[in-house]
Amino acid sequence: MIEIQNLVKHFGTLKVLDGISFRLEKGQVLAVIGPSGTGKSTLLRCINFLERPNQGIIHIGDTQVNAAKASCKEILALRKHTSMVFQNYNLFKNKTALQNVMEPMVAVQGMSAQEAEKRALEILQLIGLSDKRDSYPSRLSGGQQQRVGIGRAMAVNPDVILFDEPTSSLDPELVGEVLEVIRNLARQHRTMIITTHEMNFARSVADRVIFLSNGKIAEEGTPEEVFDHPQQERTRQFLRKFSAN
């Protein structure tokens, strides 16, 4: 279970997140949609404190953190409940695909190298990259890198995986393979929060959808509610742009 209460984030005088609250049950997938620059990425980055929120309460599993007075220890505890898939992959450049997936298990969970390798090989198989185990990120395509990124995020077995526009940097022909891996995770009932511009994907994979506009939740509901019967004019306008294409 993950619960966010009244999350606020300013950059200088600019209010990027203006009191975001939502709740997500274990095993659910939440899609966050909305125009560019509306705070989608900032929302995810605030949940694991890559950006420090100005206020708000973040509650994941048995850890609850008050952003206004979070200590380093609390932030670390929170991060151990989450993992993140980045828009530009951010694979560890000095490590192979296998080592990238092993790294969280070895360096965070303190697993032995042998055990971590065994688990990492299973994960590589799951994402279809067993043959690339010894390749460095520079030798992998964008789609392959992002699949390794997802593998690394799975490795810590987190309570929630945060996907920050996982397909936005990919060539169109590589989007499918990455979405397929995410779909598989959804079928296994992994808890995930995904920011995306892929509306069809959001509709098919998400249990809940949030439409973010100007740092506020403008609309929230099931995919049917948000995509088929949007209540707000702003949501309709936004969705029209996608159906027009």
Partner: protein, 222 residues
């Protein structure tokens, strides 16, 4: 009198070579301390520690922008007027201190540039999987930065070795001092300074060779 006496050259070669360990020792001490100080200065600048960061900026500008000999004299003769500690300091120690101050300024810029060259996303990715910040630096950022920094640091080390030769002016017993002693006995400049130059040249050639080997190794990694 012959212009160049080979016998004398060979004889004096051994005598001057005896001072090589001193040159190496000074270089290694100065390298060690300037790396540590350089890393600290780099981190102060990188993480913009208040007030200190500005001081480091002036420090780097001063030590990179003025001649080493003048810095050495200022320290050993100038500041000595005010400081009992410096008056009692051996030339060896004084040279190590000023070399350290000077080279840490260069090293810190190299190190900072190297840390900057590592994409911020690498650090964030390490944090995102739950690594504490120091571990993220140690396991992910510093190994990638080192690869960038090593060639520059190595060139710095070669310059440092050459700069130790200035120390003989304040009385350090290095190869230059050895050559001066022999010159005072036989007045054979060509052979004595010839030895000094050749030994330095061999030394830096070996190091340059090692450097290119190391760079090849580093470039291969990923």
């Amino acid at each position: 009198m012959d212009i160049f006496q080979l016998d004398y050259f060979m004889e004096v070669f051994g005598k001057i070579l005896k001072y090589l360990p001193n040159t190496l020792l000074i270089s290694l001490y100065a390298l060690f301390f300037s790396l540590i100080l350089g890393l600290i200065l780099a981190l102060v600048r990188q993480y913009k520690v208040r007030v200190l960061s500005q001081i480091v900026m002036v420090y780097n500008s001063f030590f990179r922008g003025t001649p080493f000999v003048a810095q050495l004299f200022m320290f050993y003769y100038g500041l000595a007027q005010f400081s009992e500690t410096i008056r009692r300091m051996s030339p060896f120690t004084a040279l190590v201190v000023v070399l350290t101050l000077n080279f840490s300024a260069y090293m810190s810029e190299e190190i900072r540039a190297a840390i900057n060259s590592v994409d911020k996303g690498q650090y964030e990715a390490a944090l995102s999987i739950g690594m504490p910040p120091v571990r993220a630096l140690r396991r992910i950022v510093i190994p990638q930065a080192a690869r960038v920094a090593i060639p520059g640091l190595f060139s710095g080390f070669i310059n440092l070795i050459k700069d130790t030769s200035v120390g003989f002016i304040i009385g350090v017993k290095d190869m230059m001092a050895g050559a001066s002693i022999e010159i005072n006995l036989a007045f054979r400049y060509l052979e004595c300074y010839g030895v000094v130059l050749i030994v330095y040249w061999i030394l830096t050639t070996i190091l340059t060779f090692l450097q290119s080997r190391m760079e090849k190794h580093l470039n291969r990694a990923y």
